[in-house]
């Protein structure tokens, strides 16, 4: 349509400044009057002049459409005057006046209609533009584009629709700050994103937060606050702020601004609110699904850590490494550390992830946290701490070369004592305000895992102590028997033989009696020997595992194929455990397996003593019902070792044991 203005050109002749409107209308109208007068002059040669007056509507209507009814009225008056002066001077006063009055009235009505039509068309154009803008945003939201993309789209659409020069979208944060998440301008300017400022320092955002409703400011007020420098640079003279209410709470604010103090018609707030509602819906959905995702991620990460902790034995190292890896990814941090606090105020790195200086943060590296640092604050206060660095100059030496801009640390509290800390750091702006909370949730699980590991270690240690104490008692009993009763009985037996040898031949009865006595003593010695062998195998203390196992194999009623790769003595507990495993396994083989052949292999390998007992018997051995196997599990696990019993029915029995050889 010929009157259709540029859709992006918000300020047309109808909405422009009044003076400009009148001048423009008058000039164009005068030109049109000139053209029409020329046409009328030509036609006047053939037609009666009075009927030609109506042609001046050709000048009035375009002015009415473009510049409104007011200028059109002026032009219709000018038309009549021109007509009277140049074409047809009034001949009869009465009829001429009536004709001119009819023309003016008709011109005014037509002009009013034309201007009204123009406004309706324009309004429907605007509505159509708004609808399609809303539809575009809704489509983006439905497609689930990343939130940042949606925010940018909203600022652009709102800005274009309202004829604004600058549009900003801010999100209110806990702690009284507002962060700019998107911005748009039609002017060439760099728009900083991610800036975070206290709400109190921003005029529009503050008023919207207080009112919970749209706010309009104009004049110098509009340039105050955080948008200040940018707004001043762009020459902003008026702004409107509209709240974004998502999920029942004030989520953020949309601010549209213009250099024109009267740029925004009264319905602007309502139009912006259509967008903020859409935005709120999208935000609510996005936050809900992000929260779900995050929750699921967190749960999965915690599950991984917990599983590791549950599986891990005395060494919680893998748990710490896993925590360092998981926390970083989960909280969007670039670097992570897991530290244990020592009694001398130093901290020991247990695991670290993402740092450039890996040597400084190697496992076991000690460091005295400097002031100010988040770790030092956690160490001192036992509470979460945060430090955001505006410039690298403020950073402690330990962060040299890391380009870290924000650090947060939370305490690991194990059974109500401050055990250590998990710290995270970011190289790209401040860590989110909920970092501390999420970290705390994590440290609690870690603390539980550590407590579990510690009590597991304590349990194993106490079990090992109980078993070691039992072993020591048995060894002492055996030695007491040997040094005491056995020694004396041996001397007695030998002495009886000596006496028997001295008895004269004629006392053969006495000699025979002494011989029986000596034989009795020897028999008692044999019984004692069986007893003491059951208490503790002397050869284990005397000669170590190798000779003890060889003796065991030699005495076994079932043939034992023995393979030993041992070259020195081991800790008592390890030797005794290995011996009892072998002895118990071979006893089971003899008693229950109905086997013809057994293998016993023991070797030192990779810091462990590995023992394998295999037989070709009937299998079906189970470590329950008070069999000797249960005791073996106790012994092996108390030493932090592993035992694997495989005994399928009819498939023989295979027992594999690994005992760690390291101290502690």
């Amino acid at each position: 349509m010929w009157w259709r203005p540029e859709s992006s050109e918000a300020s047309g002749p109808l909405t422009g400044p009044p003076l400009q409107r009148w001048v423009g209308g008058a000039l164009i109208g005068a030109g049109l009057i000139g053209l029409v007068t020329g046409l009328v002059a030509i036609l006047n040669l053939h037609l009666p002049p009075r009927g030609l007056l109506i042609l001046y509507l050709l000048a009035v209507v375009p002015v009415a459409i473009w510049w409104g009814a007011g200028p059109a009225a002026l032009i219709s008056a000018a038309s009549v005057i021109t007509f009277v002066l140049l074409i047809a001077p009034p001949q009869s006063e009465g009829t001429s006046v009536v004709a001119f009055a009819v023309f003016v009235a008709t011109a005014l009505v037509v002009a009013g209609l034309a201007a009204g039509l123009r406004r309706s068309v324009r309004r429907s154009q605007e509505l159509a533009a708004e609808q399609s803008a809303l539809r575009r945003v809704a489509t983006l939201a439905a497609e689930g584009v990343p939130a940042t993309e949606l925010f940018v789209a909203v600022t652009r659409e709102v800005g274009e629709l309202c004829g604004a020069d600058l549009t900003r979208l801010g999100r209110y944060e806990d702690g009284g700050t507002v962060i700019r998440v998107a911005a748009w301008t039609r002017m060439p300017a760099r728009l900083p994103i991610g800036g975070r400022v206290p709400v109190e320092e921003t005029r529009v955002a503050r008023d919207v937060l207080r009112a919970g409703a749209p706010v309009r400011v104009s004049g110098t007020d509009a340039t105050n606050g955080a948008g200040g420098p940018l707004a001043r640079e762009l020459g902003i003279r008026s702004s409107i702020g509209c709240p974004v209410v998502a999920g029942g709470r004030l989520w953020g604010v949309v601010v549209v601004s213009s250099r024109n103090p009267r740029a925004f018609p009264p319905e602007t707030e309502e139009r912006i609110l259509h967008f903020t509602e859409l935005l709120a819906t999208a935000v609510t959905n996005a936050e809900a699904s992000a929260a779900l995702l995050r929750n699921a991620d967190e749960q999965a990460a915690l599950r991984r850590v917990a599983t590791l902790a549950a599986r891990g034995g005395a060494d919680p190292g893998p748990v710490f490494r896993s925590v360092a890896d998981q926390v970083g990814g989960l909280l969007g941090a670039d670097c992570t550390s897991v530290l244990r606090f020592e009694s001398d105020r130093t901290a020991t790195y247990l695991a670290a992830h993402g740092w450039r200086d890996t040597r400084r943060r190697g496992p076991g590296a000690r460091w005295r946290p400097e002031t100010p640092s988040v770790i030092e604050q956690v160490q001192r206060t036992g509470r979460s701490a945060r430090l955001d660095y505006a410039s690298l100059g403020e950073q402690p030496p330990s962060l040299d070369g890391e380009d870290v801009t924000s650090t947060v640390a939370s305490p690991i509290v194990v059974e109500s004592r401050l055990w250590g800390s998990i710290g995270v750091a970011s190289r790209t702006g401040p860590l989110p305000p909920d970092t501390e909370d999420r970290l705390v949730a994590f440290t609690e699980i870690v603390a539980t895992a550590i407590a579990n590991t510690e009590s597991r270690a304590q349990l194993a240690a106490s079990r090992a102590r109980v078993i070691a104490a039992g072993d020591a008692t048995r060894r002492r009993l055996e030695r007491d028997l040997h040094d005491g009763a056995q020694q004396r009985l041996v001397s007695l037996a030998l002495e009886l033989r000596n006496v028997q040898a001295e008895v004269p031949d004629e006392l053969s009865g006495l000699s025979a009696g002494l011989g029986r006595l000596a034989a009795d003593v020897t028999a008692v010695l044999d019984e004692l020997r069986e007893l003491s062998r059951g208490i503790h195998p002397a050869i284990l203390s005397e000669g170590g595992l190798g000779p003890a196992l060889r003796t065991l194999a030699r005495r076994s009623p079932v043939a034992v194929e023995l393979t030993l790769r041992l070259d020195h003595r081991y800790a008592d507990a390890v030797e005794v455990a290995a011996y009892y495993v072998a002895a118990e396994a071979l006893t089971n083989t003899v008693k229950h397996a109905n086997a013809t052949h057994a293998e016993l292999a023991v070797e030192e390998y990779d810091g462990e003593l590995r023992l394998l007992v295999v037989d070709d018997g009937v299998g079906g051995a189970v470590p329950t019902g008070g069999t000797g196997l249960t005791g073996l599990y106790d012994r092996v696990e108390a030493l932090g070792g592993t035992i694997l019993v495989s005994s399928p029915g009819g498939g023989g029995t295979r027992i594999e044991v690994a005992l760690p050889l390291r101290a502690g």
Partner: protein
């Protein structure tokens, strides 16, 4: 029989044992069988000195010498003594219990203390020489 030759050589004997009562009983038992007990010791150091000074034909060593090990003493006698005596291990434990250790040591053999006699010692020495 080879042991006759060997038996002719084995006359002088030292006993190393930390049990005084057994030392007394063993001495009378061995001497009645014609084995002269030239000295007794209760510790490793004492034993090595005695062997160096007396140069016996045979040394009887108890496996359990209080906190010391008879096996260690056997090794030292073989390694350090110029006298090169025969060494026979003795113990209140039965041979079956310590066989692995006895066969691994350089001793000529083993005699259970309750069976100790000059003849038993000579038999072991003779068997060890074969």
């Amino acid at each position: 029989m080879l042991w006759c030759n060997a038996g002719a050589v084995v006359r002088r004997c030292v006993i190393v044992d930390d049990n005084e009562r057994f030392l007394a009983v063993a001495r009378s038992s061995l001497e009645r069988g014609g084995l002269e007990v030239v000295g007794t010791a209760t510790t490793t150091t004492q034993a090595l000195e005695l062997i160096g000074a007396l140069r016996p034909d045979v040394v009887l060593v108890d496996i359990a010498l209080g906190t010391e090990s008879g096996f260690d003493l056997v090794h030292r006698i073989v390694a350090e003594s110029s006298a090169r005596p025969h060494v026979v291990l003795i113990s209140t434990r039965r041979e079956d219990d310590v066989a692995e250790l006895v066969s691994a040591s350089p001793a000529a053999g083993f005699v259970w203390k309750a069976d100790l006699s000059a003849r038993a010692v000579r038999d072991v020495v003779a068997a060890g020489e074969q």
